[in-house]
Amino acid sequence: MNESLGHIFLDSLLINNFVLSVFLGICPFIGVSGKLATAWRMGVSVIFVITVSSILAYGTNLLLVNFHAEYLRIITYIVIIASTVQMVEMFIKKTSPALFRALGIYLPLITTNCAVLGVALFQTAREYNFAQSVVFAIGSSAGFALALVIMAVIRERLELSDIPHTAKGTALVLMLAGILSLAFMGFAGMGQGG
């Protein structure tokens, strides 16, 4: 695997956007996209968690391969992610109590955000080296944050519009996500040259 770093970044940010075309992290995407203020904060903490856990997962995978214990991969990755989230939680609580209160329940829920485990598993499956893994982690988590912020802006604008009662809530978010996903398909051509 010797894809260029720029290509990996663009690919994970736009072409294969984690939310809109790989379908990872849909639960927080539906749950936290109601307000712009919480959406971007969530996005930033996810970028942080994914980057840190991706670096840790890269190191752990080297160890596992060294000892021929690849069957422990899923278990160790999930432990790494849970402890990273715990660390980030303590760090934010210590440095910025205001942000900690604003994020509330969404912070511990990052553990079950499948995008985090997804990054760790994909970088292993694609045999990325260290630099590629980090760029991939930053690109895909930024892609998650981007999708989250776009959806939050659309939902805030739609708040006052007259929507049929049945379509309110999740069904509306999914329809909007479908349209966004259609739009993001337009980026698919960008990958051809690289």
Binding site: L20, S21, V22, F23, L24, G25, I26, C27, I30, Y71, L72, R73, I74, I75, I78, V79, A82, T111, T112, N113, C114, V116, L117, G118, L121, F122, A125, H165, T166, A167, G169, T170, A171, L172, L174, M175, A177, G178, I179, S181, L182, M185
Partner: protein, 219 residues
């Protein structure tokens, strides 16, 4: 009446209710809107939906049983970590099982088998049900929820494969002149199909509610 922890065996009707609850009234996908990622990602064919449904069903039943078994031994503070480790163990088993049974299915599902670990339905049932109920009842709950999830995956996979490929389980349905609606196999199709099913379910529930309480409805 409230049962003391597992001292009283549940009556058959009560067990049946917790089974049917997951299947229909509390369907994990259409009513609780949980486990969205696998629901959208692997339902582009009925075969993948079947495999994912069975794998999730297996993990859900096993982890529910084990969580219910150890529920009195696990301290409250570390319960979530314990549940996740139990789930991850069964997911590893499923991962190797699918690889042994069928390599094409393993390749098609890819990372989504390992991602069963973070399917919120499973952790949700462990925390909300299995940690408070006896083993037998938890297994039934797991079966009900698992089959409910399986059913939802089939609903999506069926629509997407019929429209997107003009086939069902790989058998062509409409003859050679059918122009496949490829969009339904692509990511946007997943979002649109799930949105449509949710609309069907909510309008169906709203109608039932109106029928049950016609006096309360205004205008």
């Amino acid at each position: 009446m409230h049962h003391a922890h597992g001292l009283v065996e549940p009556s058959p009707s009560e067990s049946m209710e917790s089974f049917l609850n997951g299947l229909w009234k509390q369907n994990p996908v259409f009513v609780q809107v949980l486990g969205m990622c696998p629901t959208l990602a692997i339902t582009n064919s009925v075969r993948n939906a079947l495999a994912m449904g069975l794998a999730t069903l297996f993990v859900l039943v096993c982890s529910n049983a084990l969580v219910a078994l150890v529920r009195k031994l696990v301290p409250r503070q570390v319960r979530i970590a314990t549940y996740i480790l139990i789930i991850a163990t069964f997911v590893t088993i499923v991962d190797y099982m699918i690889k042994a049974i069928s390599v094409p299915v393993y390749k098609a599902l890819g990372a989504f088998i390992a991602l069963i670990v973070v399917n919120c339905i499973i952790l949700g049932r462990a925390e909300a049900f299995a940690s408070k109920n006896p083993v037998g009842k938890s297994i039934l709950d797991g079966l009900g929820m698992g089959i409910g999830f399986f059913f939802a995956l089939l609903c999506l996979g069926g629509v997407r494969e019929i429209l997107g490929a003009g086939a069902f389980l790989g058998y062509p349905l409409f003859g050679p002149n059918y122009q496949p609606w490829v969009l339904f196999l692509l990511p946007p199709g997943g979002f649109f199909t799930l949105a449509a099913w949710l609309l069907v379910f909510t309008s169906w529930q709203a109608r039932k509610k109106r029928r049950q309480a016609p006096a309360e409805v205004q205008s």
